[in-house]
Symmetry: C2
Subunit: 431 residues, 2 copies
């Protein structure tokens, strides 16, 4: 299965370069990159290769809400009324449905240039206590050929001190020990070439500080990443202050003794908490399309950005799957918030590289993956851009990244490689 | 050229319906719609037809900035520093370039489901006083086969009482009389089946209240729509207050004696001005992708929405051409601003019909076009949606509009009809 690719243009980190060959080994890793002069190289005409996008936060099953949850007969809705619709979907899931919906979501991700996904997986039970739905996620990722990090979810309470109820019973983990036993049971089923795991206490609503502390300690010992939802909604902060006298971010940082983790959303995180989180090595995962859909609000990202390399992107509810759209709206949210342009520039003042980094290296950091770069030793995961696409016409190579991030969408993704294996984007049919 | 079409599903205004036939006459208008039982009908398999999207505000030549204007070596930018980059492009235009860039923009619009465009055209001169660039816009629209309303721009000053300078000299109109003479010169060159005109005093910076009054009177007499940029940036409001002691919206409303017009942006329009504008019959044209890109800010749309049918959408700078993306971000801006969901519901609580109306009937109202509906007497302008697209899989007909608006993008647009003439979307190539 080893191969050598030579696209018209290759993203090498500093820019798009011509005449670069990429040698891929039998294991699906990049062997060598550069002017290799390998005559057997496959020429990829009119194609630019980027590192495949890394989606650091997904709930694949929520693809089942596509077209739902957008009507408000009782008046204005909220995150919390949307959650009722989502819980109703949860109630209807069985193993077959979960696998089918997840495969749909993962396949759409590949069409959007995404080659790796952190699946924040909390719907464990088909029947009480059975954990039958866990394997469906592995199967779906294999069906779609996407690289998967199962962010295995710990979910014990509906709010601090309150037991689970209704659809939430499908999320239940009984104890921290039981949680690690489930992970140990699932681990041998992973495809070692494309699948790995992380630990994910759902949120401060679902896990106590003590449990978060214990999970973090064991995750560190095992070398696994830890992810949590943090401060997406103001109500979460109010409830946490009432229960613990501190913000969710402060509670988690106290619990993990200023260890590093990935915090998803951080929509309403206070500056002093963010500073402490970043000093601890944290990564912030933003989900602009979902946060817009759910009306969460726009965070102020100046500190997170200034820390360098700490931004990741997630597609979260998968209401819309387009990483290029998510990339530009990460910046546009800041522009609209501050009434300015160029909110997230790199050291040379360019914004697009920041947004690409969030969609590649930032996500890879959050998921502990050797992905997001086209460099020897990294996975051969690429997004192939169609240079003949009308939205990229007349754009020179040194402006291609800007044009992609600000001016293009899924329609320019010709296909993706995961571990060196090609999959073409589903074509649009003409009648 | 008459034809009868029978797609799988047809948007009839209330919903998507099966087994509807659409008869189109030789002139490119819809003759009849319904269960016509015409055996010669062309079946459009796996296609849903929507009214083609109406783009109420475009500057097509700005497609030449694709990939540019997104680097900020001198620190944070603004609308005004972006305008310098745009003026530099203006300086480089000749008739051939303007036609080529405009054709690119109009063709990309068709790929995004847009069948009619209001081209707010202000770059008139190749050489001083020649108006050589006006015809290029007509030619480009003909090349792309898009329905065109030339919103012919009046541009006399750079700010109240200040003469034009630099690139702005290319915009110059000498007098209101001269402006109408140019329109009279251009009118015979229009294709009557697909091209019409409107009057567009650029903004309160570029036109005096007296000139706006005179242009509005003559536009009303001729039955032409009038458009202006209004209150996109706070600086415009400050400068206008300094010059006239009132907001731009108030100055324009006073000038036109509370006549109707289309105001583009209204980002910072005060509630009392908006109430008066709406009472006068005005339409507000929002441009979410451009307003995000330029960091204009998010307007509060409650009044504009409550007035019913007064929202239109424009792609403005054409940095990104996707009407579906613009539709959802119109709602998402309101959700993020208010931290709620369902900001722009219709009378039954559904948001997607409001957003579709902005992209169809609202734009048609702003441009004075018989477009935006699939009904007898209207133009046969349609967007054809690929029902086999992965992003629409599993979505039933009664949820299709929600799924399109919130969950899909250009990749589902199989092609468009303008005046009954089909054009397939450019396909994505596989290597």
């Amino acid at each position: 299965m080893s191969a050598v690719l030579e696209p018209d243009l290759t993203w090498t980190g500093a820019g798009f370069e011509p005449r670069v060959q990429i040698a891929i080994d039998d294991a699906g890793r990049i062997d060598d990159v550069g002017s290799l002069g390998r005559p057997e190289a496959s020429r990829l005409n009119r194609i630019a290769l980027l590192p495949g996008f890394v989606n650091a936060h997904s709930h694949a099953f929520q693809r089942g809400l596509r077209g739902y949850g957008e009507r408000f007969p009782a008046g204005t809705g909220s995150f919390w009324t949307w959650r009722e619709a989502m819980y109703s979907l949860v109630g209807s899931l069985d193993r077959t449905t979960l696998r089918r919906l997840s495969t749909r979501a993962f396949t759409e991700m590949r069409d959007a240039g995404i080659t790796a996904v952190g699946e924040f997986h909390y719907v464990h039970h088909e029947r009480q206590g059975d954990f039958a739905l866990d394997e469906a996620v592995l199967e779906a990722a294999r069906d779609a050929g996407i690289r998967l990090v199962v962010l295995y979810c710990y979910y014990a309470t509906s709010a601090p001190g309150r037991s689970l109820d209704g659809a939430q019973l499908r999320f239940a983990t009984t104890s921290v020990d039981g949680f690690w036993q489930r992970i140990d049971r699932l681990s041998p089923m992973l495809d070692p070439a494309t699948q790995s795991m992380g630990a994910a206490p759902h949120s401060i609503r679902a896990a106590s500080p003590e449990d978060i502390r214990a999970i973090h300690q064991e995750a560190v010992r095992r070398g696994l990443p830890m992810h949590l939802h943090v401060e997406e909604q103001r109500r979460e902060i109010e409830e946490c202050r009432a229960a613990y006298g501190r913000t969710p971010m402060a509670v988690v940082l106290d619990a993990v003794e200023d260890g590093a983790f990935t915090a998803v959303h951080c929509t309403h995180t206070a500056n002093e908490d963010m500073a402490r989180f970043l000093a601890a090595g944290g990564v912030g995962c933003l989900c602009p399309l979902t946060e817009g859909n759910l009306g969460d609000g726009v965070p102020h990202l100046a500190r997170l950005h200034a820390a360098g390399g700490r931004l990741a992107l997630g597609t979260d509810s998968n209401a819309r799957l387009s990483m290029l759209e998510d990339m530009r709206w990460l910046e546009y949210g800041q522009r609209l918030r501050g009434e300015l342009r160029g909110a997230l520039p790199d050291s040379e003042g360019a914004v697009a590289p920041t947004l690409l980094a969030a969609a590649t290296t930032g996500g890879a950091r959050a998921l502990n993956l050797r992905a997001g770069r086209i460099a020897p030793g990294w996975w051969a995961d690429f997004a192939a851009v169609d240079l003949a696409a009308p939205s990229l016409a007349d754009v020179p190579a040194d402006r291609l990244l800007d044009a992609l991030v600000f001016g293009a969408g899924n329609e320019v993704i010709a296909g993706t490689y995961v571990g060196g294996k090609w999959r073409a984007t589903m074509g649009t049919m003409t009648p």
